[in-house]
Subunit: 388 residues, 2 copies
DNA sequence: CATTCTAGTCAAGGCTCTTGCCTGGAAAGG
DNA sequence: CCTTTCCAGGCAAGAGCCTTGACTAGAATG
């Protein structure tokens, strides 16, 4: 049965949800402001605040309405309780591991980075992941209490004052990994001819003891597409990532579609047009042209950018044509180092194809995968708090 | 703001929705049965029945609880009002037009078929569509009242008794067409090298005056996939249709994904492996092998089945490999005449590919597109009745 | 110091839901 | 035939949630 059972309790929980969401948007509100903000009547809003305060989700900040605002009676500002919890967003890439901790308002509470040697060995990655997460918990524990307004903390938090407490565990984690991810288990998967830069890692196992709730892992390109969608919501598009590895994310009807195992868009083995018009898997085009790094599956980005071989553009054109026929996107977004550099050539190639699609460069340039993971982590944290 | 605003009216409408849905499932219920069925208390259920009766959505059938059931007081059986409306499901294919009218229980009220000449001319198709819909409305108007239980009527309704009334207009229509459909306008679209069997038809325009509500048009393969999903719910699969035309439907996360224009899965121009290992569009493989009907874009099914050329199987393997990489389906379902006949060959081909996917034949064999359209029409009618 | 304005509370009223009891009527059983 | 058993439906009481409207307390304005 789809619709919720009608009951008075349902109404009450809906009211509480509205109040909590209003506080997430505005961080500091009086009961009267909550009432106008949510459209709920004053007594009901006040009652909800009483309930939520009792439950420990909301606190009276002690602050009162500033004198400048008007003449009336002073009001009490309420906000989310500082212990409603935080969300962890983690990015695992060949360059290193980045972990961020955010509160329910989306404030960055702490951030930690751990570099990785190249090539990264699986054990090193796992250790770096653990260190980054431990460090970010440590830093978050040193933060001034949430609930009082403070500047988004920069990285330069003084590490000399180090209280014993490592800070409370985040209530969930969202992890981005620069490799295919198994949708069921969250483990990194080695696929034939797909890039495999990090090794067989199990982020869920590493984070299980460090997070007090669910751990969601997905491929970095999927998260980048999520960030791209947040920046410019287009319901149907494909995100093609062209760098050391080849990736692709598919957004249909406003959501990233991951497929059964979670490896939708692992395009390395897609059959496309190779040199001389022969049909061959996309990744083999690079092999034929001698553009793969020795002893690894990675593409030699420097050489691609030097030589800019037309055969590569043709091969990418074949990939985009396949996307156009199977997915019917409104546009194709190109990310990754050599993809963005060659975007004009790719655009020309696609424009002459029988099913042309607009091609444009990714808008989110700075840490796109982490940005997507962060957005998702924040969304999930909020859902958790309102009790969905 | 996502969650509904809490109000007493919300509770009431939720109760009414539960009652209506229970009546849709069970067609005939007393107030006491409604109460136990929905989990709502007796007085509340009774009050809802009173409201809905007053609103004309529910009627007292006059029938009373049968003696055999127990000793207690007799109860009144309620059911949906006979005029809550009907849904129209229409299939337009080269073989002809089929129109069906269903009530909210899913009973077939009437059915009409109109053959088409081959090749079908657009004007003929439009006229046949109009005739089929008019005829089905006529037949539905002759039906005994809904609400009293009756057998699913067979096709052989005596046309001699013909009352003047053409029957009320259906509240919505869902149309399947054997050609690409524009998602925004519902018109049939001619794409380069895609099969175009019916011509430039605008079903929305034809049905606008004949239906008292929205008209939804989509490609027949998408509807077939919908029916396949209803028969065996698999969240992620692809439906490949291999007949005169080449089609493909994509189901991700339990929904058919149509893409931006609605032409996701129009695979005729997908680049695959052609004869001699050359890369070429799928449909051109048939051109190269001389397997297309003269003077049309259609594939000569008879010749394909006679010759069973390995090159065709290889080309289809390339299509499925592309689906596997881009969509990551749990399985691929094969439909269409020659596709089903060659399924073993296709399965072998896919099994040796680097990303093998289980391949199986379509389970819904009888009018699959109409079955999907019917399911969807029924679902939409019910949503309309409960007032979503 | 009176006025004006506003946050928060109180009181009344309306709805909706639930529990529990009662009633009328039919079958079952002696 | 009369009593018992059983059940659909209705009634009454009660609790909970939301709303309107009035009231109160407290601060700034003039």
């Amino acid at each position: 049965m789809d619709p919720a059972k009608p009951s008075q309790e349902l109404l009450r929980s809906l009211t509480d949800e509205h109040v909590l969401r209003a506080l997430m948007r505005h961080r500091l509100l009086t009961r009267a402001e909550l009432s106008t903000e949510t459209g709920i009547s004053k007594p009901t809003a006040g009652e909800s605040v009483r309930r939520l305060t009792e439950a420990g989700l909301v606190v009276d900040t002690g602050r009162r309405t500033p004198g400048g605002r008007g003449r009336g009676r002073v009001g009490s500002y309420y906000s989310l309780a500082p212990d409603v919890g935080t969300a962890l967003a983690v990015s695992i890439a060949p360059e290193g591991v980045v972990a961020e901790c955010h509160n329910a308002y989306g404030d960055l509470m702490a951030r930690a980075q751990e570099p990785l040697g190249r090539p990264a060995r699986p054990d090193d990655v796992t250790a770096a992941l653990a260190r980054a997460v431990d460090r970010v918990r440590q830093l978050a524990g040193e933060q001034p209490e949430a609930g009082t307004i403070h500047e988004s903390p920069s990285n330069g938090v003084d590490p000399s004052i180090r209280p014993a407490s490592p800070g409370p565990k985040p209530r969930l984690a969202v992890v981005s990994a620069a490799d295919p991810v198994d949708r069921q288990t969250g483990r990194l998967l080695q696929l034939p001819d797909a890039p495999f830069l990090l090794g067989e890692i199990d982020p869920v196992a590493v984070l299980a003891g460090r997070v007090d709730g669910p751990v969601h892992v997905d491929n970095d390109v999927n998260w980048a597409a999520e960030a791209e969608w947040a920046a410019a919501p287009v319901d149907d598009f494909a995100y093609v990532y062209l760098d050391e590895g080849l990736g692709c994310a598919i957004v249909s009807d406003g959501e990233v579609r991951r497929g059964h195992r979670g490896v939708a868009g692992e395009v390395a083995h897609l059959i496309t047009v190779g040199p001389g018009g022969r049909a061959m898997p996309l990744i083999e085009v690079f092999g034929e042209l001698g553009l793969r790094c020795a002893g690894s599956t990675a593409i030699d980005v420097g050489r691609v950018l030097e030589e800019r071989p037309p055969a590569v553009v043709t091969a990418v054109g074949g990939l985009i044509a396949a996307l156009a026929t199977l997915i019917d996107p409104e546009m194709v977004v190109i990310g990754g180092r050599w993809g963005m550099q060659l975007i004009d050539r790719i655009d020309q190639e696609v424009a002459c194809s029988p099913r042309p699609v607009p091609v444009r460069a990714a808008k989110v340039q700075h840490e796109p995968a982490l940005a997507g993971a962060r957005t998702d982590a924040l969304h999930r944290l909020r859902e958790l708090i309102v009790g969905r």
